[in-house]
Amino acid sequence: MTHSLAVTVLGHDRPGIIADVTGVLAGLGGNLEDSSMTLLRGHFAWTLVVAVAADASVVSDRLAHLMAEGLVVSVLPLPDDDATAPEGSAWLLSVHGADRPGIVSGLTRLVAEAGGTITDLTTRLGTGIYLLVAEVSLPRETDVEALSARIAAAAEGLGVRATLTPAESDVL
């Protein structure tokens, strides 16, 4: 009987982290499901879901050698209920401007108040510029024009530019 575990690995990047982690999981008969990895200001950052029969404590023990080298590793059980993708229309929220506190919280709060969920998010701090790109799923009944106006007004108050554009894909 397998169950789902969420594993996060953070820390100083070096060649072979992914090969090491997946080697341990494969050795336990685990099946790597969804995962997302990037470098955050040069630091390795990976979140993954693995279906495996072993308990979280066993997986954690087998990854202990990575923690010993300074990586931060967490292994947590996920609830058994089936997670489903949100139903709604897909939008892309793009924000950029001078960095200041409160950009992400101020704009994502408006999305949440409209009943929307964020399904993918990237934020980056460049030289003098802050960037946010979010995939947003909005309920069918959302007044998108009104939400766009609220986002634009909030963005103006924050001194940034924000646009909400359709992200629907074309079936070919």
Binding site: P86, T119, S137, S169, D170, V171, L172
Partner: protein, 182 residues
């Protein structure tokens, strides 16, 4: 050149059958299709089947033969009513088609009936010239396509070369779970 008011004039086809669409992973989707005789009765029947299957599939604007399990270099297309289309050539089937030239890359998000779980951002040329042949008569067609029709043509010709859009995505974070649109 069998064109009337910019639309391809298709020869009469037999009655088509709705065929099931194959989903990835499947060898037939990863294998290059072979060229066939446009006038062969089986090819003509396939042309009719592709058109009918495409018509009954919601949102479908094109279908390659290997998407219905047949490894022949044949596809159907119709982007006439798509909002992103500029120039359109109507509803047609081409046999043994190839891209002659392409220019002006643009990125856009694609989905595919054969990859129902995902969508992805793919960069494709927005102007292309395609040379192919009509079923039944084997008449040669040279199409100058732009915008959405150019994208759709490249998507279908990719299928015929054994590629799906997942082979072309623009980056590691350019693939998304397909949402249920209400």
């Amino acid at each position: 050149m069998p064109l009337l008011d910019g639309r391809i004039v298709m020869p009469p086809l037999p009655e088509g059958r709705v065929l099931p669409v194959i989903t990835a992973p499947a060898d037939v989707l990863s294998t290059a299709c072979v060229e066939v005789d446009p006038a062969a009765p089986d090819v003509v029947q396939l042309a009719a089947d592709l058109i009918v299957t495409q018509r009954v599939s919601p949102g479908c604007v094109g279908l390659a033969a290997n998407q219905v399990g047949i490894g022949w270099r044949v596809f159907s297309l119709d982007v006439t009513h798509h909002p992103k289309a500029r120039t359109t050539h109507g509803e047609y089937v081409l046999v043994n088609a190839r891209i002659e030239s392409s220019s002006r890359n643009e990125k856009s998000r694609e989905g595919c009936m054969s990859v129902p779980d995902f969508t992805g951002d793919v960069k494709r040329a927005s102007r292309i010239v395609v040379r192919g042949f009509l079923p039944v008569t084997g008449e040669e067609v040279v199409l100058e396509a732009d915008a959405f029709e150019a994208r759709a043509l490249q998507h279908e010709l990719d299928h015929l070369d054994g590629f799906v859009f997942l082979d072309r995505v623009a980056g590691a974070h350019a693939v998304y779970p397909r949402q249920t649109y209400l």
